[in-house]
Point group: C2
Chain length 171, copies 2
């Protein structure tokens, strides 16, 4: 059991789901005859970020968590996306980065000191970081993106949210 | 490293945060002079569950995940809550149940067959279940509850969402 198993596969699966939700959003906009790009500016409250920032936030949460836990420096992915094809490409860029990690690189991640810039020199133990920060933060941005799309009438349901599962048949 | 560390403390912390959000919601309703109980019926879309069901869903997601991973049968917590004090008591009931688990009970949870009723006889390996189902499902209900409150104008921010962290000072 390693921190790899509860981070990289979850990030990968949920970002893949996010891309499917955006694909469904485009289809729904086409059917309802409005420009799908307007969805990127929608927000649930005036002091919450719009959809485009929620997608960027989910990608960055996954990217930084993977980098921190493996003791790497995360690559820069500037928040320059302004269209749905661009933001969907950002998801693919993040997925490709996540795909470069192997379980070996997470050896000792539990004991690693994770010190994001916003902690200003302080740090969190890798084992605490995953459950206290990385997963809640990633899931926050991902779920708010889903909520914006549902609020905008995109036909999605819980099975679209959860996505694939490694279900096995009883023998 | 055990599955205990990425489930029970995360569930406990985030349900504690959820209770704080509800407390802030009551204060905000008082200040804005409306009955806070109306919040329980609010939803982000007509075909999404209202706040009361999202709180029940978050509690159940945590309760069942803990029980499945420890090989226990989850206690029944009927969805009978109709008021904010009642739904906040439900959170405390769930927190008390989560508090009965020790890391020892999660020994071998990675290899355990998790077979919720809705899988109709099929099963998921404990290790896959946590990242593919339990955490995404728990975080879904929790984040949608937060989103409903934010959408309703309750003054909350990202630090309220993330809550406490085991931050250490550099020596």
């Amino acid at each position: 059991m390693s921190l790899y198993h509860v981070t990289i596969p979850t990030f990968t699966k949920m970002l893949t789901n996010l891309d499917h939700w955006l694909e469904a959003a485009v289809a729904s906009a086409d059917q309802r005859k409005f420009d799908p790009e307007v969805l990127l500016g929608m927000r649930l409250a005036p002091d919450m970020f719009p959809l485009v920032k929620q997608v960027q936030g989910a990608c960055d949460a996954a990217k930084f968590a993977a980098a921190y836990l493996a003791g790497q420096t995360a690559p820069s992915h500037p928040d320059t996306e302004q269209t749905l094809p661009e933001i969907r490409a950002r998801i693919q860029t993040c997925l490709a980065y996540l795909g470069t990690f192997s379980e070996d690189q997470f050896a000792g991640a539990e004991e690693r000191r994770v010190a994001p810039a916003w902690l200003k020199g302080r740090w969190v133990l890798g084992q605490d970081y995953v459950g206290e920060v990385a997963l809640p933060n990633f899931m926050f941005h991902l779920t708010i993106a889903y909520a914006i799309l549902r609020h905008a009438g995109v036909p999605l349901g819980k099975s679209d949210f959860i996505g694939s599962m490694s279900v096995k048949d009883s023998v």
